[in-house]
Protein backbone atom coordinates (compact mmCIF):
# COMPACT_ATOMS: atom_id res chain seq x y z
CA UNK A 1 0.00 0.00 0.00
CA UNK A 2 1.40 3.37 -0.98
CA UNK A 3 1.89 6.12 1.59
CA UNK A 4 -1.02 7.94 0.02
CA UNK A 5 -3.65 5.18 -0.16
CA UNK A 6 -5.96 4.47 2.77
CA UNK A 7 -7.84 1.53 1.24
CA UNK A 8 -6.35 -1.00 -1.16
CA UNK A 9 -8.00 -4.11 -2.64
CA UNK A 10 -5.72 -6.56 -4.48
CA UNK A 11 -7.30 -9.39 -6.50
CA UNK A 12 -10.25 -9.61 -4.13
CA UNK A 13 -12.92 -12.21 -4.77
CA UNK A 14 -16.09 -12.75 -2.71
CA UNK A 15 -18.70 -15.36 -3.54
CA UNK A 16 -22.06 -16.19 -2.03
CA UNK A 17 -23.43 -19.66 -2.80
CA UNK A 18 -20.69 -20.18 -5.41
CA UNK A 19 -21.79 -17.00 -7.22
CA UNK A 20 -18.99 -14.42 -7.37
CA UNK A 21 -20.22 -11.04 -6.11
CA UNK A 22 -16.80 -9.43 -6.37
CA UNK A 23 -14.56 -11.01 -8.96
CA UNK A 24 -10.83 -10.45 -8.73
CA UNK A 25 -11.14 -6.76 -7.88
CA UNK A 26 -8.37 -4.17 -7.57
CA UNK A 27 -9.17 -0.82 -6.02
CA UNK A 28 -7.39 2.00 -4.27
CA UNK A 29 -8.74 4.99 -2.33
CA UNK A 30 -6.18 7.70 -1.77
CA UNK A 31 -5.79 9.69 1.41
CA UNK A 32 -8.21 12.63 1.39
CA UNK A 33 -10.02 11.37 -1.71
CA UNK A 34 -13.81 11.41 -2.19
CA UNK A 35 -15.24 8.56 -4.26
CA UNK A 36 -18.69 7.25 -5.08
CA UNK A 37 -19.42 3.58 -5.49
CA UNK A 38 -22.48 3.00 -7.61
CA UNK A 39 -24.18 -0.07 -8.98
CA UNK A 40 -27.52 -1.83 -9.13
CA UNK A 41 -29.13 -3.46 -6.11
CA UNK A 42 -27.33 -6.75 -5.46
CA UNK A 43 -24.24 -5.64 -7.39
CA UNK A 44 -22.11 -6.15 -4.25
CA UNK A 45 -21.76 -2.56 -3.00
CA UNK A 46 -22.57 -3.43 0.59
CA UNK A 47 -20.29 -6.48 0.48
CA UNK A 48 -17.57 -4.15 -0.74
CA UNK A 49 -18.02 -1.94 2.34
CA UNK A 50 -18.33 -4.94 4.65
CA UNK A 51 -14.89 -6.04 3.51
CA UNK A 52 -13.48 -2.68 4.57
CA UNK A 53 -14.92 -2.75 8.09
CA UNK A 54 -14.16 -6.49 8.40
CA UNK A 55 -17.69 -7.74 8.66
CA UNK A 56 -16.81 -10.04 5.78
CA UNK A 57 -13.61 -11.75 4.68
CA UNK A 58 -12.69 -12.26 1.01
CA UNK A 59 -12.48 -15.76 -0.47
CA UNK A 60 -9.17 -14.71 -1.97
CA UNK A 61 -7.09 -11.59 -2.40
CA UNK A 62 -5.95 -8.95 0.05
CA UNK A 63 -7.68 -5.96 1.64
CA UNK A 64 -5.65 -3.26 3.35
CA UNK A 65 -7.30 -0.48 5.33
CA UNK A 66 -5.43 2.32 7.09
CA UNK A 67 -2.16 0.36 7.28
CA UNK A 68 -3.89 -2.80 8.46
CA UNK A 69 -4.10 -5.98 6.43
CA UNK A 70 -7.64 -6.93 7.31
CA UNK A 71 -7.38 -10.36 5.70
CA UNK A 72 -4.88 -11.44 8.36
CA UNK A 73 -6.23 -9.22 11.14
CA UNK A 74 -7.10 -11.25 14.27
CA UNK A 75 -10.74 -10.96 15.41
CA UNK A 76 -9.60 -9.24 18.60
CA UNK A 77 -8.11 -6.37 16.60
CA UNK A 78 -11.24 -5.70 14.52
CA UNK A 79 -12.62 -3.07 16.96
CA UNK A 80 -9.37 -1.11 16.62
CA UNK A 81 -9.78 -1.13 12.82
CA UNK A 82 -13.33 0.19 13.21
CA UNK A 83 -12.13 3.05 15.40
CA UNK A 84 -10.14 4.26 12.41
CA UNK A 85 -13.30 4.31 10.30
CA UNK A 86 -16.36 6.49 10.49
CA UNK A 87 -19.31 4.40 9.36
CA UNK A 88 -22.64 5.90 8.34
CA UNK A 89 -25.63 3.80 7.34
CA UNK A 90 -28.86 4.67 5.62
CA UNK A 91 -30.92 3.43 8.58
CA UNK A 92 -29.10 5.68 11.11
CA UNK A 93 -28.60 3.03 13.82
CA UNK A 94 -29.02 5.53 16.62
CA UNK A 95 -29.98 4.37 20.10
CA UNK A 96 -33.55 5.60 20.58
CA UNK A 97 -33.37 5.69 24.39
CA UNK A 98 -30.41 8.08 24.56
CA UNK A 99 -30.14 11.76 23.83
CA UNK A 100 -28.22 13.19 20.87
CA UNK A 101 -25.35 14.00 23.23
CA UNK A 102 -25.29 10.46 24.66
CA UNK A 103 -25.45 8.86 21.22
CA UNK A 104 -22.31 10.71 20.20
CA UNK A 105 -20.57 10.41 23.58
CA UNK A 106 -21.14 6.67 23.50
CA UNK A 107 -18.65 6.19 20.62
CA UNK A 108 -15.96 7.75 22.81
CA UNK A 109 -16.99 5.91 25.97
CA UNK A 110 -16.48 2.57 24.25
CA UNK A 111 -12.93 3.52 23.39
CA UNK A 112 -12.28 4.42 27.03
CA UNK A 113 -11.78 8.17 26.62
CA UNK A 114 -11.78 10.45 29.69
CA UNK A 115 -15.03 12.16 30.67
CA UNK A 116 -13.62 15.67 30.23
CA UNK A 117 -12.33 14.85 26.73
CA UNK A 118 -15.63 13.22 25.79
CA UNK A 119 -17.55 16.35 26.78
CA UNK A 120 -15.25 18.62 24.83
CA UNK A 121 -15.19 16.40 21.72
CA UNK A 122 -18.96 15.82 21.64
CA UNK A 123 -19.63 19.56 21.79
CA UNK A 124 -17.07 20.02 19.02
CA UNK A 125 -18.50 17.42 16.59
CA UNK A 126 -22.10 18.45 17.27
CA UNK A 127 -20.99 21.98 16.39
CA UNK A 128 -19.44 20.67 13.16
CA UNK A 129 -22.72 19.06 12.07
CA UNK A 130 -24.77 22.04 13.27
CA UNK A 131 -26.67 20.29 16.04
CA UNK A 132 -25.27 21.80 19.23
CA UNK A 133 -28.69 23.19 20.08
CA UNK A 134 -30.31 19.77 19.87
CA UNK A 135 -27.90 17.86 22.09
CA UNK A 136 -30.55 17.15 24.71
CA UNK A 137 -33.15 15.95 22.21
CA UNK A 138 -33.98 12.30 21.75
CA UNK A 139 -33.52 10.77 18.26
CA UNK A 140 -37.27 10.45 17.78
CA UNK A 141 -37.62 14.23 18.11
CA UNK A 142 -35.34 14.78 15.11
CA UNK A 143 -35.98 14.88 11.37
CA UNK A 144 -34.32 12.32 9.07
CA UNK A 145 -31.65 14.78 8.02
CA UNK A 146 -30.89 15.66 11.64
CA UNK A 147 -30.66 12.00 12.59
CA UNK A 148 -28.16 11.44 9.82
CA UNK A 149 -26.16 14.43 11.06
CA UNK A 150 -26.02 12.84 14.53
CA UNK A 151 -24.75 9.63 12.92
CA UNK A 152 -22.09 11.61 11.08
CA UNK A 153 -21.14 13.38 14.33
CA UNK A 154 -20.82 9.99 16.02
CA UNK A 155 -18.69 8.73 13.14
CA UNK A 156 -16.45 11.80 13.39
CA UNK A 157 -15.98 11.66 17.15
CA UNK A 158 -13.03 9.27 17.03
CA UNK A 159 -11.28 11.36 14.37
CA UNK A 160 -11.18 8.59 11.77
CA UNK A 161 -9.08 8.75 8.60
CA UNK A 162 -11.80 7.26 6.42
CA UNK A 163 -15.54 7.83 6.28
CA UNK A 164 -17.65 5.03 4.83
CA UNK A 165 -21.18 6.06 3.96
CA UNK A 166 -23.68 3.45 2.80
CA UNK A 167 -26.57 5.29 1.07
CA UNK A 168 -26.46 8.15 3.61
CA UNK A 169 -29.09 10.12 1.71
CA UNK A 170 -31.24 7.12 0.86
CA UNK A 171 -34.00 7.91 3.37
CA UNK A 172 -33.91 11.69 3.04
CA UNK A 173 -35.79 14.34 1.08
CA UNK A 174 -33.80 16.38 -1.51
CA UNK A 175 -33.21 19.29 0.85
CA UNK A 176 -31.91 17.10 3.66
CA UNK A 177 -29.85 15.08 1.15
CA UNK A 178 -28.20 18.28 -0.07
CA UNK A 179 -27.32 19.32 3.48
CA UNK A 180 -25.78 15.91 4.20
CA UNK A 181 -23.76 16.10 0.97
CA UNK A 182 -22.53 19.57 1.94
CA UNK A 183 -21.48 18.16 5.29
CA UNK A 184 -19.61 15.25 3.70
CA UNK A 185 -17.94 17.68 1.32
CA UNK A 186 -16.78 19.80 4.28
CA UNK A 187 -15.48 16.71 6.05
CA UNK A 188 -13.58 15.71 2.91
CA UNK A 189 -12.17 19.23 2.59
CA UNK A 190 -10.65 18.78 6.05
CA UNK A 191 -8.63 15.90 4.62
CA UNK A 192 -10.70 12.83 5.42
CA UNK A 193 -11.14 10.20 2.70
CA UNK A 194 -14.81 9.50 1.95
CA UNK A 195 -16.18 6.44 0.20
CA UNK A 196 -19.89 6.76 -0.41
CA UNK A 197 -22.16 4.04 -1.74
CA UNK A 198 -25.18 5.44 -3.55
CA UNK A 199 -27.56 4.95 -6.41
CA UNK A 200 -28.72 8.54 -6.35
CA UNK A 201 -27.21 9.65 -9.68
CA UNK A 202 -28.56 13.19 -9.29
CA UNK A 203 -26.47 13.65 -6.17
CA UNK A 204 -23.43 12.23 -7.96
CA UNK A 205 -23.92 14.71 -10.81
CA UNK A 206 -24.52 17.61 -8.41
CA UNK A 207 -21.40 16.85 -6.33
CA UNK A 208 -19.01 15.41 -8.86
CA UNK A 209 -16.16 13.24 -7.55
CA UNK A 210 -14.43 10.10 -8.71
CA UNK A 211 -17.13 7.53 -9.47
CA UNK A 212 -16.72 3.76 -9.56
CA UNK A 213 -19.28 1.32 -10.81
CA UNK A 214 -19.72 -2.25 -9.65
CA UNK A 215 -21.20 -4.48 -12.31
CA UNK A 216 -21.07 -8.24 -12.80
CA UNK A 217 -18.53 -8.54 -10.01
CA UNK A 218 -16.10 -6.09 -11.65
CA UNK A 219 -15.28 -2.52 -10.63
CA UNK A 220 -14.27 0.33 -12.88
CA UNK A 221 -14.09 4.14 -12.95
CA UNK A 222 -16.77 5.80 -15.03
CA UNK A 223 -17.06 9.33 -16.37
CA UNK A 224 -19.91 11.68 -15.41
CA UNK A 225 -21.42 11.56 -18.90
CA UNK A 226 -21.73 7.77 -18.67
CA UNK A 227 -24.20 8.05 -15.78
Amino acid sequence: MSQQSVIKFSNVTVSFDHRPVLDNIDFTLENGEFAYLIGQTGAGKSSFLRLIYRDLLPDSGRVQVADLDITSLPDKKVPYLRRRLGIVFQDFQLLPDRSVYDNVAFSLQVTGEKKSYIKQRVVEVLGMVGLSHKRKNMPNDLSGGEKQRVVIARALANEPRIMLADEPTGNLDPEASASIMELLKQINNRGMAVLMVTHDYDTVKQYPYRTLKLENGKIGDIAMDEL
Binding site: I87, S107, V110
Partner: protein, 294 residues
Amino acid sequence: MSLGYVVKEGMAGIGRAKLAAFTSMFSLFIAVLLLGLLARLGYNGYEVAQSLKKSIDVEVFLMDLDERTTNELSDRLKEEKLVQEVSYISKDSAAAVFEKEFGSTGSSLADLKFLPASFKLNIDPDAQISQVDSLVNQIQSYRGVDEVRFNQQLLKRIEANFETAAMMGGGLGILILLASMILVFNTIRLTIYAKRDLIKAMKLVGATNGFIRRPFVVEGIIQGLIAGLLSVGVMFVTFHYLLPEYISELGILEWPFGRWYYLSGAMVLLAVFMGFWGSQWAARKFIKKTSISE
Protein backbone atom coordinates in the same frame (compact mmCIF):
# COMPACT_ATOMS: atom_id res chain seq x y z
CA MET B 1 -12.43 1.09 30.89
CA SER B 2 -14.45 2.97 33.43
CA LEU B 3 -16.01 0.72 36.08
CA GLY B 4 -18.59 3.44 36.71
CA TYR B 5 -19.69 3.25 33.09
CA VAL B 6 -20.04 -0.54 33.20
CA VAL B 7 -22.08 -0.50 36.44
CA LYS B 8 -24.23 2.44 35.28
CA GLU B 9 -24.93 0.76 31.95
CA GLY B 10 -25.61 -2.58 33.64
CA MET B 11 -28.19 -1.00 35.96
CA ALA B 12 -29.72 1.10 33.20
CA GLY B 13 -29.97 -2.04 31.06
CA ILE B 14 -32.67 -3.45 33.36
CA GLY B 15 -34.82 -0.37 32.77
CA ARG B 16 -34.25 -0.38 29.03
CA ALA B 17 -35.71 -3.82 28.43
CA LYS B 18 -38.09 -4.13 31.36
CA LEU B 19 -40.11 -7.12 30.20
CA ALA B 20 -37.06 -9.17 29.23
CA ALA B 21 -35.34 -8.26 32.50
CA PHE B 22 -38.45 -9.18 34.49
CA THR B 23 -38.66 -12.55 32.71
CA SER B 24 -35.01 -13.31 33.48
CA MET B 25 -35.42 -12.33 37.12
CA PHE B 26 -38.62 -14.33 37.47
CA SER B 27 -37.07 -17.48 36.03
CA LEU B 28 -34.04 -17.06 38.31
CA PHE B 29 -36.33 -16.48 41.28
CA ILE B 30 -38.43 -19.60 40.60
CA ALA B 31 -35.34 -21.75 40.02
CA VAL B 32 -33.60 -20.67 43.22
CA LEU B 33 -36.78 -20.83 45.29
CA LEU B 34 -37.47 -24.41 44.16
CA LEU B 35 -33.91 -25.47 44.93
CA GLY B 36 -34.07 -23.69 48.30
CA LEU B 37 -37.33 -25.41 49.21
CA LEU B 38 -35.92 -28.76 48.18
CA ALA B 39 -32.78 -28.16 50.25
CA ARG B 40 -34.82 -27.19 53.31
CA LEU B 41 -37.19 -30.12 53.02
CA GLY B 42 -34.28 -32.47 52.31
CA TYR B 43 -32.37 -31.24 55.34
CA ASN B 44 -35.37 -31.71 57.60
CA GLY B 45 -35.91 -35.20 56.18
CA TYR B 46 -32.29 -36.00 56.94
CA GLU B 47 -32.65 -34.69 60.47
CA VAL B 48 -35.73 -36.87 61.09
CA ALA B 49 -33.90 -39.93 59.79
CA GLN B 50 -30.90 -39.13 61.98
CA SER B 51 -32.99 -38.69 65.11
CA LEU B 52 -34.75 -42.00 64.42
CA LYS B 53 -31.41 -43.69 63.96
CA LYS B 54 -30.16 -42.10 67.15
CA SER B 55 -33.04 -43.68 69.05
CA ILE B 56 -31.88 -47.16 68.04
CA ASP B 57 -29.70 -48.61 70.76
CA VAL B 58 -27.53 -51.67 70.72
CA GLU B 59 -28.02 -53.70 73.86
CA VAL B 60 -25.17 -55.87 75.01
CA PHE B 61 -26.37 -58.45 77.57
CA LEU B 62 -23.69 -59.74 79.85
CA MET B 63 -22.99 -63.03 81.55
CA ASP B 64 -22.44 -62.93 85.32
CA LEU B 65 -19.22 -60.92 85.49
CA ASP B 66 -17.13 -59.45 88.24
CA GLU B 67 -16.67 -55.71 88.43
CA ARG B 68 -13.19 -55.69 86.90
CA THR B 69 -14.23 -57.63 83.83
CA THR B 70 -17.30 -55.44 83.47
CA ASN B 71 -15.14 -52.30 83.60
CA GLU B 72 -12.71 -53.76 81.08
CA LEU B 73 -15.55 -54.57 78.74
CA SER B 74 -16.99 -51.07 79.19
CA ASP B 75 -13.60 -49.52 78.29
CA ARG B 76 -13.33 -51.78 75.28
CA LEU B 77 -16.78 -50.78 74.05
CA LYS B 78 -16.00 -47.06 74.54
CA GLU B 79 -12.99 -47.46 72.27
CA GLU B 80 -15.18 -48.55 69.36
CA LYS B 81 -15.37 -45.84 66.71
CA LEU B 82 -19.08 -46.12 66.06
CA VAL B 83 -20.00 -46.08 69.73
CA GLN B 84 -20.84 -42.60 70.97
CA GLU B 85 -22.01 -43.42 74.47
CA VAL B 86 -21.95 -46.44 76.72
CA SER B 87 -24.31 -46.76 79.68
CA TYR B 88 -24.28 -49.64 82.11
CA ILE B 89 -27.52 -51.15 83.31
CA SER B 90 -26.94 -53.33 86.33
CA LYS B 91 -29.16 -56.24 87.25
CA ASP B 92 -30.89 -54.00 89.84
CA SER B 93 -31.52 -51.22 87.35
CA ALA B 94 -32.85 -53.73 84.83
CA ALA B 95 -35.23 -55.05 87.46
CA ALA B 96 -36.33 -51.53 88.28
CA VAL B 97 -36.98 -50.79 84.63
CA PHE B 98 -38.89 -54.06 84.31
CA GLU B 99 -41.01 -53.18 87.30
CA LYS B 100 -41.67 -49.71 85.98
CA GLU B 101 -42.75 -51.03 82.59
CA PHE B 102 -44.81 -54.02 83.76
CA GLY B 103 -46.17 -52.52 86.99
CA SER B 104 -47.12 -54.57 90.05
CA THR B 105 -47.55 -57.76 88.02
CA GLY B 106 -43.89 -57.65 87.28
CA SER B 107 -42.66 -56.94 90.76
CA SER B 108 -42.66 -60.57 91.96
CA LEU B 109 -40.71 -61.63 88.93
CA ALA B 110 -38.30 -58.77 89.39
CA ASP B 111 -37.47 -60.08 92.84
CA LEU B 112 -35.92 -63.06 91.16
CA LYS B 113 -33.32 -60.82 89.59
CA PHE B 114 -33.29 -63.02 86.52
CA LEU B 115 -32.61 -60.08 84.25
CA PRO B 116 -28.97 -59.84 83.15
CA ALA B 117 -26.85 -56.74 83.42
CA SER B 118 -26.25 -54.98 80.13
CA PHE B 119 -24.58 -52.12 78.30
CA LYS B 120 -26.69 -49.76 76.23
CA LEU B 121 -24.68 -48.35 73.30
CA ASN B 122 -25.55 -45.18 71.43
CA ILE B 123 -24.38 -45.62 67.89
CA ASP B 124 -23.19 -42.88 65.53
CA PRO B 125 -26.33 -42.03 63.48
CA ASP B 126 -24.22 -41.69 60.33
CA ALA B 127 -23.14 -45.34 60.59
CA GLN B 128 -24.25 -47.70 57.82
CA ILE B 129 -26.29 -50.73 58.71
CA SER B 130 -23.50 -53.03 57.50
CA GLN B 131 -21.06 -51.31 59.87
CA VAL B 132 -23.47 -51.73 62.79
CA ASP B 133 -23.88 -55.39 61.82
CA SER B 134 -20.20 -56.08 61.87
CA LEU B 135 -19.83 -54.17 65.15
CA VAL B 136 -22.56 -56.33 66.67
CA ASN B 137 -20.84 -59.50 65.44
CA GLN B 138 -17.57 -58.28 66.84
CA ILE B 139 -19.03 -57.45 70.27
CA GLN B 140 -20.78 -60.81 70.25
CA SER B 141 -17.38 -62.49 70.30
CA TYR B 142 -16.11 -60.54 73.33
CA ARG B 143 -15.53 -62.57 76.40
CA GLY B 144 -18.34 -62.11 78.93
CA VAL B 145 -20.93 -61.05 76.33
CA ASP B 146 -24.00 -63.24 76.32
CA GLU B 147 -26.11 -61.66 73.60
CA VAL B 148 -26.21 -58.50 71.51
CA ARG B 149 -29.52 -57.08 70.29
CA PHE B 150 -30.53 -54.15 68.17
CA ASN B 151 -33.54 -53.27 66.05
CA GLN B 152 -32.04 -54.22 62.73
CA GLN B 153 -35.38 -54.15 60.89
CA LEU B 154 -36.13 -50.56 61.89
CA LEU B 155 -32.65 -49.42 61.02
CA LYS B 156 -32.90 -51.17 57.67
CA ARG B 157 -36.20 -49.52 56.94
CA ILE B 158 -34.96 -46.04 57.88
CA GLU B 159 -31.86 -46.50 55.81
CA ALA B 160 -33.72 -47.81 52.76
CA ASN B 161 -36.35 -45.05 52.93
CA PHE B 162 -33.77 -42.38 53.46
CA GLU B 163 -31.71 -43.62 50.53
CA THR B 164 -34.78 -43.61 48.27
CA ALA B 165 -35.77 -40.12 49.42
CA ALA B 166 -32.20 -38.83 49.04
CA MET B 167 -31.94 -40.27 45.53
CA MET B 168 -35.31 -38.85 44.52
CA GLY B 169 -34.54 -35.48 46.08
CA GLY B 170 -31.08 -35.37 44.54
CA GLY B 171 -32.44 -36.36 41.13
CA LEU B 172 -35.21 -33.79 41.40
CA GLY B 173 -32.67 -31.17 42.45
CA ILE B 174 -30.45 -31.90 39.48
CA LEU B 175 -33.47 -31.82 37.15
CA ILE B 176 -34.64 -28.49 38.56
CA LEU B 177 -31.13 -27.11 38.32
CA LEU B 178 -30.74 -28.22 34.69
CA ALA B 179 -34.21 -27.05 33.67
CA SER B 180 -33.78 -23.74 35.43
CA MET B 181 -30.34 -23.21 33.91
CA ILE B 182 -31.74 -23.75 30.42
CA LEU B 183 -34.69 -21.47 31.23
CA VAL B 184 -32.51 -18.79 32.79
CA PHE B 185 -29.93 -18.86 30.00
CA ASN B 186 -32.60 -18.60 27.35
CA THR B 187 -34.41 -15.76 29.02
CA ILE B 188 -31.12 -13.91 29.48
CA ARG B 189 -30.44 -14.55 25.80
CA LEU B 190 -33.78 -12.92 25.02
CA THR B 191 -32.83 -9.94 27.19
CA ILE B 192 -29.64 -9.57 25.20
CA TYR B 193 -31.45 -10.11 21.91
CA ALA B 194 -33.78 -7.24 22.85
CA LYS B 195 -30.69 -5.05 22.86
CA ARG B 196 -29.22 -6.14 19.53
CA ASP B 197 -29.38 -2.55 18.22
CA LEU B 198 -27.20 -1.44 21.09
CA ILE B 199 -24.74 -4.23 20.38
CA LYS B 200 -24.65 -3.36 16.68
CA ALA B 201 -24.10 0.31 17.42
CA MET B 202 -21.31 -0.53 19.88
CA LYS B 203 -19.61 -2.78 17.35
CA LEU B 204 -19.97 -0.09 14.72
CA VAL B 205 -18.00 2.45 16.74
CA GLY B 206 -15.27 -0.03 17.64
CA ALA B 207 -16.19 -1.40 21.06
CA THR B 208 -14.38 -4.61 21.93
CA ASN B 209 -16.51 -7.69 22.62
CA GLY B 210 -15.38 -7.61 26.26
CA PHE B 211 -16.51 -4.00 26.64
CA ILE B 212 -19.92 -4.79 25.12
CA ARG B 213 -20.29 -7.88 27.33
CA ARG B 214 -19.45 -6.35 30.71
CA PRO B 215 -22.63 -4.29 31.24
CA PHE B 216 -24.69 -7.38 30.36
CA VAL B 217 -22.79 -9.40 32.94
CA VAL B 218 -23.32 -6.68 35.57
CA GLU B 219 -27.01 -6.69 34.64
CA GLY B 220 -27.10 -10.49 35.04
CA ILE B 221 -25.48 -10.22 38.49
CA ILE B 222 -27.97 -7.54 39.59
CA GLN B 223 -30.87 -9.64 38.31
CA GLY B 224 -29.47 -12.65 40.18
CA LEU B 225 -29.09 -10.63 43.38
CA ILE B 226 -32.67 -9.34 43.23
CA ALA B 227 -34.04 -12.80 42.36
CA GLY B 228 -31.99 -14.42 45.16
CA LEU B 229 -33.15 -11.91 47.79
CA LEU B 230 -36.76 -12.31 46.68
CA SER B 231 -36.59 -16.09 46.90
CA VAL B 232 -35.12 -15.89 50.42
CA GLY B 233 -37.94 -13.51 51.37
CA VAL B 234 -40.54 -15.93 50.06
CA MET B 235 -38.88 -18.77 52.01
CA PHE B 236 -39.16 -16.74 55.23
CA VAL B 237 -42.79 -15.92 54.66
CA THR B 238 -43.64 -19.51 53.64
CA PHE B 239 -41.96 -21.32 56.53
CA HIS B 240 -42.50 -18.80 59.28
CA TYR B 241 -46.01 -17.56 58.51
CA LEU B 242 -47.87 -19.52 55.85
CA LEU B 243 -47.04 -23.13 56.74
CA PRO B 244 -47.49 -22.74 60.53
CA GLU B 245 -50.79 -20.95 59.84
CA TYR B 246 -52.27 -23.36 57.30
CA ILE B 247 -50.47 -26.70 57.83
CA SER B 248 -49.62 -26.45 61.50
CA GLU B 249 -49.25 -30.25 61.88
CA LEU B 250 -46.12 -30.02 59.72
CA GLY B 251 -44.47 -28.16 62.57
CA ILE B 252 -41.64 -25.77 61.97
CA LEU B 253 -39.26 -27.02 59.32
CA GLU B 254 -35.96 -25.73 60.58
CA TRP B 255 -33.37 -23.84 58.54
CA PRO B 256 -30.47 -26.18 57.74
CA PHE B 257 -27.84 -26.30 60.49
CA GLY B 258 -30.16 -24.25 62.67
CA ARG B 259 -29.14 -20.92 61.13
CA TRP B 260 -31.12 -18.96 58.52
CA TYR B 261 -28.09 -17.49 56.83
CA TYR B 262 -26.45 -20.68 55.49
CA LEU B 263 -29.26 -21.58 53.09
CA SER B 264 -30.22 -17.94 52.46
CA GLY B 265 -26.62 -17.10 51.58
CA ALA B 266 -26.36 -20.15 49.35
CA MET B 267 -29.58 -19.22 47.55
CA VAL B 268 -28.47 -15.63 46.92
CA LEU B 269 -25.03 -16.81 45.80
CA LEU B 270 -26.56 -19.42 43.48
CA ALA B 271 -28.88 -16.82 41.91
CA VAL B 272 -26.01 -14.36 41.46
CA PHE B 273 -23.82 -17.08 40.00
CA MET B 274 -26.54 -18.20 37.59
CA GLY B 275 -27.19 -14.60 36.55
CA PHE B 276 -23.48 -14.02 36.05
CA TRP B 277 -22.81 -17.24 34.20
CA GLY B 278 -25.97 -17.08 32.09
CA SER B 279 -25.36 -13.53 30.96
CA GLN B 280 -21.65 -14.15 30.35
CA TRP B 281 -22.44 -17.19 28.23
CA ALA B 282 -25.37 -15.67 26.31
CA ALA B 283 -23.64 -12.32 25.75
CA ARG B 284 -20.42 -13.95 24.56
CA LYS B 285 -22.32 -16.08 22.07
CA PHE B 286 -24.67 -13.38 20.84
CA ILE B 287 -22.10 -10.59 20.55
CA LYS B 288 -19.81 -12.80 18.50
CA LYS B 289 -22.68 -13.67 16.16
CA THR B 290 -24.03 -10.15 15.70
CA SER B 291 -23.09 -8.50 12.44
CA ILE B 292 -23.22 -4.71 12.23
CA SER B 293 -24.65 -4.69 8.74
CA GLU B 294 -27.64 -6.98 9.36
